[in-house]
Symmetry: C2
Subunit: 342 residues, 2 copies
Amino acid sequence: MTTANRQLLVKSWPNGLPTPENFEIVESRAPTPGDAQILIRNLWLSIDPYYRHALGPRFVGTKFCHPGDVMMAVTLGQVVESRDPVIPVGSHVTTLLGGMQDYAVVGGRDVRLLPDDLFGPGKLPLSTALGVAGNPGLTAYSALMVHAKASPGETFLVSSAGGCVGATAGQLAKLMGLRAVGIAGSAAKIAWVLEKAGFDACVSYKSNSFKEDLAAACPRGIDINMEHVGGEVLKTILPLMAQNGRIIISGLIDQYNKDVAPPSPNWGVIVSKHLTVSGLRVFNHFDLMPRFERLVADLIAKGAFVYEEDISEGLEAAPGSLARVLTGANFGKSLVRIAEAA
Amino acid sequence: MTTANRQLLVKSWPNGLPTPENFEIVESRAPTPGDAQILIRNLWLSIDPYYRHALGPRFVGTKFCHPGDVMMAVTLGQVVESRDPVIPVGSHVTTLLGGMQDYAVVGGRDVRLLPDDLFGPGKLPLSTALGVAGNPGLTAYSALMVHAKASPGETFLVSSAGGCVGATAGQLAKLMGLRAVGIAGSAAKIAWVLEKAGFDACVSYKSNSFKEDLAAACPRGIDINMEHVGGEVLKTILPLMAQNGRIIISGLIDQYNKDVAPPSPNWGVIVSKHLTVSGLRVFNHFDLMPRFERLVADLIAKGAFVYEEDISEGLEAAPGSLARVLTGANFGKSLVRIAEAA
């Protein structure tokens, strides 16, 4: 193999929000797979807020991308060469280890093999395997199926309701017979959440009357909060939590860009309201993916489920796309397309 | 009824730790029960740290005992007069509404009726119905049976291990096949926790090597932490929590005496370690009491269970006893005896 491999390398760790100057594109040769490995050609990069953790010494422990490293990304790729008998050449896979580059060598065990009968032309678009039918969707599904301990009629609140996780969670909550309330930051997102995704209510965290609006949208309190934001949003939510409420934290975007841990709400509220607060890392729920991806494919085919994608084109667009998800400027699942499917 | 009723009234809200000067004893007449009510003669007062919440404007919402009110207390009493057909005269009850006074009128539905076959001479001492066989014991039991989601061999850590809840929890954990590790504050408590209560390890939070000692006592990390303290103790525990760990908070003694909420640990650790943090209010688990009190009676009769009581005598002793539980100076369940059983 002497195929050229364009890679987005980390050039420097950002001070706050990442900018294009923190990265550089270099060209090398595509690597060769060893035993039990495969070579994939990346078609899509998933852009997720938690990548920010990799770019500098943070207060939450993580693996870092140092200057000179390929920038991390979950990717969707097509298998070009395989030395793992389970992964056929030509098949499509997603992997946490793809990185922001044209080609990657990964272990055959480190990929999710997409079922041909679910993904492809006339079926689910490949890109959805990184979004609504991928890890973000599975995050929402495992929040509701594993963490929420929901009862019919309970109020389910999700922040970032216009994002892929939030919109999926709210729609699943409705299908389970819950009252779905969203928090979003723009009029366009709120309109979409209400009219397309079918939430019962959606309020703006940017409004001066956020606190009152949220209380009015949750007249019997909040039974379940799927939290992605933290900070002032979480502080507003906590007094409205019902007794025996559940808070599922899958991210704290508010603090991803901060160098030191900001003050967190006092843990006393967990006792006084008899709450259960659980952290959700989707990596712990990968066993549910085969069931979930089939469910979503079925729901979308029936027209019972909507999703949005925020697509940028080309490796050069990745740093800007990352900055957008960190500020909430995206609308729907953020993706960068770096090649067309064969 | 013209029986004299000595009552401990709140005189003023304390600034920090309560002192005897914040209370006064007055004598009135014992009240008369109305329909569906009972008159009880209090024999024992339970002294619990959370009473501090009632004595002043705190950052955790609660019901207050204002100056002039009878000071709150969970009590054990004997029924003197009954207008509730379910509660016989002469029976023993515990109630959250007894207060620090000789006599109280409470609703027949607001008491726990002690089974005659479990409590009394030759059986469980009456006082245990406020301790190891009462709400503190039930707190430990529901932590392990409802909240902990324990697997055999996991490491269970409990702070205040020399206290009634902690000692009960550690012993139940051992019976469930867990590794029980305690935190306590004195050499005497640590020796008792290890030698009498049979914990696998116990470390002092007052030691300069607390962090290292705790890490050594939990070589595979902490799977379950039953937390009563918060503050620096919780800060030391969090980095040692295992992935998928569970933290059960039944109290945060460290902050009960503070007027404003102290900084709490950042909630990000809940996500990064995939923790489940649950608040435990024993009032939500009263349905388990009949099963629990019988279990404890059986274990104590078999000699498989130990407990300590920290007994003071007379209503005058109550303020001092409350200050002692707030500073950890007590050893075992704190009780004030204000009358002998008939």
